[in-house]
């Protein structure tokens, strides 16, 4: 047993988190920053933060993750990090020449109380930010929210720093994709494209964190939203924010700042959430949904109806980020699966938990939800009554192995498999991939557990 000290006896905890189902704000901000073209994310804090964030993102993407740090020492912690950030900006623009530097704070600089805009002003005044180059920042104290919050804050910062209304509405539609994979962002753009809609998506990590091997290292890969596009976002017809937790803040800020109306939807994971996304997109853009999209939808339903017997009634344990587990829970219920344990480490609010309860109210088992909760509790629930499937990040593999339950790796981080950054799980095509993964997990298990007598050729 890998987690041999975990038992089914649940003792109330209020101070100790065990096996977290979240991490801290700055890594989310770093990830979002990588979705700006030509951007170098910068961690304003101790160098350990940036090292950890880069390592974790690198393990997840198996790609270079470039970022810089203010590298606080004890002196900076006492006297403030202004000198470090000024020196860092000078070095960064001189040596690494990015278009933009996206600074996020850390628990350290937040506790000290560094005033980033003021430091920016000084840097600009001192000529440390070259002509035509940009800086932006987000406050991302590690002791508030989670990596999702950090992503949301940095995404909102893109609006705060760049979006401007040019006075008339352009034909563009803004899409804020949420804390999803590069492949998901690409798929969301593709759907916009085949609907004939000009979209501005931010952040956009596609072609940044799933890049090619070419024999050349590019510190600033070809992907990412440009500053020009971010500016133009202020004049779009509307904004679709996917996932309230990760994208809601930026969408609302854009509405307030530039009067771009927004729709905040669930992540387009699963049939109905994708329906909602496509339907909203066509309504905002005023276009018809092309047959090609409806065709993909039909393919997805085809698999659901064909393989329904294997989905029906299976108990699923779901652990991940809030926007994801909400959409996934809805998807699972829609195919007659039973998400019975739902956990996220990220705080998401009471309304969120209420929506989860509504979504799962028809599940014919007791449904346990803990948001925020941790994977230790999740595991204890499973010890009490097992599930047929776990959907979670790589850390869930320890539970899956101990309890002999199939695992579908989903969410962040996935450290031990490839594929998540190349194949989407959003949209109908993503839905088909998820269905395939669920079926593979279930059918592999049926095959494994069948007796010789009941082993099936056709399934």
């Amino acid at each position: 047993m890998l987690l041999k000290h975990t038992t089914d006896e649940i003792k109330a905890r209020k101070a100790l988190t065990i096996n977290p189902a979240k991490t801290c704000q700055p890594i989310g901000a770093m990830y979002a920053s990588l979705g700006i073209h030509g951007c170098l994310p910068h961690s304003h804090g101790s160098q350990g933060c940036y090292a950890y964030h880069r390592s974790t993102l690198t393990r997840h993407y198996k790609e270079p993750v470039m970022a810089a740090t203010s590298a606080f020492t004890e002196g900076a912690s006492v006297f403030g990090g202004q000198a470090n950030l000024l020196q860092a900006l000078d070095n960064i623009f001189t040596v690494y020449n990015p278009d933009v530097v996206a600074v996020h704070t850390t628990c350290l600089s937040e506790t000290i109380g560094d005033d980033i805009p003021q430091i920016f002003n000084k840097a600009i005044a001192d000529g440390k930010v070259p002509e035509g180059k940009y800086v932006l920042h987000a406050n991302t104290p590690s002791y508030v929210g989670s990596h999702i919050t950090g992503f949301a804050n940095m995404t909102k910062a893109m609006v705060d720093y760049f979006a401007v209304s040019n006075g008339h509405k352009e034909k563009t539609v803004n899409i804020i994709p949420g804390y999803v994979e590069p492949a998901d962002m690409e798929e969301i753009k593709r759907l916009g494209d085949i609907m004939g809609i000009k979209t501005i998506m931010f952040p956009d990590t596609s072609k940044v964190l799933n890049g090619p091997m070419t024999g050349r290292f590019k510190m600033y890969p070809e992907g990412g939203v440009t500053i020009k596009e971010l500016k133009l976002a202020g004049s779009s017809k509307g904004t679709i924010a996917l996932g309230n937790l990760a994208s809601g803040a930026a969408a609302k800020a854009l509405d307030v700042k530039c009067k771009v109306p927004c729709q905040i939807l669930d992540l387009p994971i699963g049939l109905q959430a994708t329906d909602m996304f496509i339907d909203t997109l066509r309504q905002i853009a005023g276009v018809n949904v092309p047959d090609a999209v409806t065709f993909e939808r039909g393919q997805m339903i085809d698999i659901i109806t064909d393989m329904h017997q294997y989905f029906y009634g299976r108990r699923v344990g779901l652990v991940g980020d809030p926007d994801q587990i909400l959409a996934l829970a809805k998807f699972l219920v829609s195919i007659d699966m039973c998400p019975v344990y739902i956990v996220s480490g990220s705080p998401a609010g009471k309304k969120f938990v209420k929506r989860l309860e509504e979504i799962t109210q028809e599940v014919p088992y007791e449904v346990k939800i803990s948001v925020p909760g941790d994977m230790f509790l999740f595991h204890q629930w499973i010890k009490q009554e097992s599930v047929d499937l776990i959907i979670g990040n790589t850390y869930a593999k320890y539970i899956a192995r101990d309890e002999d339950i199939p695992l579908i790796r989903f969410g962040f981080p996935i450290l031990d498999r490839v594929g998540h950054s190349y194949f989407p799980t959003v949209g109908y095509k993503g839905g088909i991939r998820l269905l395939e993964k669920i079926l593979d997990a279930i059918l592999d298990r049926i095959d494994r557990d069948s007796s010789d007598i009941s082993f099936e050729l056709v399934m």
């Binding site: 991490t23 090292a51 001189t94 002791y143």
Partner: protein, 551 residues
């Protein structure tokens, strides 16, 4: 130093002038930065036992993208992480605990301690929230310790402070003392806030201090066994320590404690009963060895089990120390048993690796140790450097007296240790030690990396991303060794990159069997066809004409 350039064997650097290269590495930096980096980029030159001074263990330059991590990483992640039976609670926001959760591949075998405790698969954190930043986190920490105790009944709990803890003034140590008294188990804290020192190195020191204070010497039971040693600075990445333990066992050497691969707090407590400390990673653990020598009288010697020859040499050192013919014979017997397959593997693989060129920028001793293995494969180390080494790791401990303590080091506690009035027991008389020394066994000594490297190669401390790229563009080495953050950056150039922290999930690489693994992995990496696919046919031959498969 410029004066030395002409004397350098230029062949070693692909015929390039090291001074020119150094100039190129520095040219883009702002003046002040260039001046600092110039002291950390050194052209090696070995004259007798003298090597040039290299500035190291100095502040990371903001914005330049160093490989380094922080004090917490060195303390919790490196030194304490591998101890399976302590509940290690990270006191702070969730991130630090999360990132150091199972990411270091320290293997451990809980079946070797009677209670079978293993908490290494768990991550414990106080998940500090803003109210704790405002009102203080001691209460939550206390409660967390209680909850850890209630759930797991461990024999020890350790608390690790992250950046904000120091700033908001939580007194971790007093909380630990209070809870230790309350719960009756060993509970102790580490003030290893991320901003302390200039790298992981500060964390090692803090870790060493606290283990020494709170654990070592707690159990005086003298266990059975001949030739008792402790292995220090071996973290059992990918099972390295298991291989070393296998060899010890075969030789009849008794390992009392390991710091801290495959380790248990009980073994730490009992470690002062051993008769010799062996240091693998000098950087991370030399403090413990020194303090144990002072307090308990155990001498220490530097060993290296990376490389088959180095392993044999280290075993002979141990035998020499114990001055026992049976052990000496056994060690020789083991070497005779183990070496043939090593030599066979080398004979098979070396023709494919000979002359290939490696660069190593990693850790505080790995950049040194792994040169041994490359040497065994006939490979050349073009350039190397540490992530968090000190001058003694580069130049040898002889420079220790000349290292000035700067502001960043001064804030790391330096324990004042004296001989224990009861437990101090010098294992060898001064005369005996002197005799052994004359026979070539060096005590409390480490020669460092540079004396073993060729003249003219570049030794670079705390290399930056920019310098890494430049080196690759200039040399196109056949293999590059560093850590996960560097891996794909390097590989995008079409150059295989070996992680020497995680071994890319391979290993063990230590000892005889580990050497075999390493040879195979390097052979695979430097000779694979997969690096030849980088250009598409239409990039190689863009004109329109070709003949194809089935025609």
């Amino acid at each position: 130093m410029a004066a030395t350039a002409e004397k350098i064997d230029k062949f070693e650097l692909d015929g390039m002038d090291p001074e020119k290269i150094k100039e190129e590495l520095l040219s883009r930096y702002p003046t002040k930065v260039a001046r600092k980096r110039a002291k950390q980029i050194i052209i090696n030159k070995v004259e007798g036992c003298e090597v040039p001074v290299i500035q190291s263990n100095v502040r990371t330059i903001p914005g330049l993208m160093s490989q380094r991590g922080c004090c917490y990483a060195g303390c919790k992640g490196v030194v304490l992480g591998p101890t399976r039976d302590i509940v290690n609670i990270t006191h702070g926001p969730i991130g630090c605990g999360f990132y150091s959760w199972l990411t270091r591949r320290n293997q451990t075998d809980p079946s070797t301690t009677p209670d079978g405790h293993n908490f290494m698969t768990y991550c414990f954190s106080t998940d500090m929230q803003d109210q704790e930043i405002i009102f203080g986190g001691e209460k939550k920490l206390k409660q967390a310790i209680q909850e850890a105790y209630d759930n797991f009944k461990p024999k020890a709990i350790a608390v690790f402070s992250t950046c904000p803890v120091g700033l908001i003034g939580d007194d971790v140590h007093s909380v630990c003392r209070e809870m230790k008294d309350k719960l009756g188990i060993n509970i102790f804290g580490f003030s290893c806030e991320g901003y302390k020192g200039v790298s992981q190195s500060a964390g090692h020191h803090i870790a060493n201090n606290q283990i020494f204070k709170h654990v070592i010497g707690n159990d005086d039971t003298v266990k059975e066994g001949d030739f008792k040693i402790n292995l220090l600075g071996e973290y059992n990445i990918g099972g390295d320590a298991f291989e070393i333990e296998r060899i010890f066992k075969k030789c009849g050497i008794t390992q009392v404690a390991s710091f801290s691969g495959n380790s248990s707090i009980d073994a730490f407590a009992n470690s002062h009963t051993a008769d010799l400390n062996l240091i693998m990673c000098h950087r991370s653990i030399n403090y413990v060895a020194e303090m144990m020598e002072k307090k308990y009288g155990l001498p220490w010697i530097k060993v290296n089990f990376i490389g088959a020859e180095a392993t044999a040499k280290s075993l002979r050192k141990i035998a020499a120390y114990f001055e026992d013919q049976k052990l000496t014979d056994k060690v020789e017997e083991v070497i005779v048993q183990e070496m043939p397959q090593v030599l066979k593997s080398i004979a098979e693989i070396k023709p494919r690796t000979e002359g290939k060129r490696a660069m190593l920028f990693v850790g505080g001793s790995r950049a040194h140790h792994y040169q041994e293995l490359f040497k065994e494969l006939g490979m050349i180390t073009l350039s190397a450097g540490y992530e968090f080494g000190h001058r003694d790791d580069y130049e040898g401990r002889k420079v220790l007296p000349s290292i000035k303590v700067d502001a960043d080091s001064r804030n790391i506690e330096e324990l004042s240790v004296k001989a224990d009035p009861e437990k101090f027991n010098p294992r060898k008389s001064p005369e005996n030690l002197q005799k052994l020394k004359e026979k070539g066994l060096e005590f409390s000594s480490y020669e460092g990396m540079m004396p073993e490297m060729k003249n003219g190669v570049l030794v670079i401390d705390d290399i930056t991303q920019y310098e890494t790229e430049k080196l690759i563009e200039l040399f196109k080495p056949d293999i590059f060794c560093a850590g996960i953050k560097e891996k794909y950056t390097i590989q995008k150039y079409g150059i295989p990159m070996k992680q020497l922290h995680s071994y890319d999930y391979g290993g063990p690489y230590a000892g005889f069997k580990g050497a075999l693994n390493f040879y195979k992995d390097i052979d695979r990496m430097v000779n694979s066809r997969v690096w030849g696919y980088l250009k598409a046919p239409w990039q190689i031959k863009p004109e329109l004409a070709a003949t194809y498969a089935w025609e």
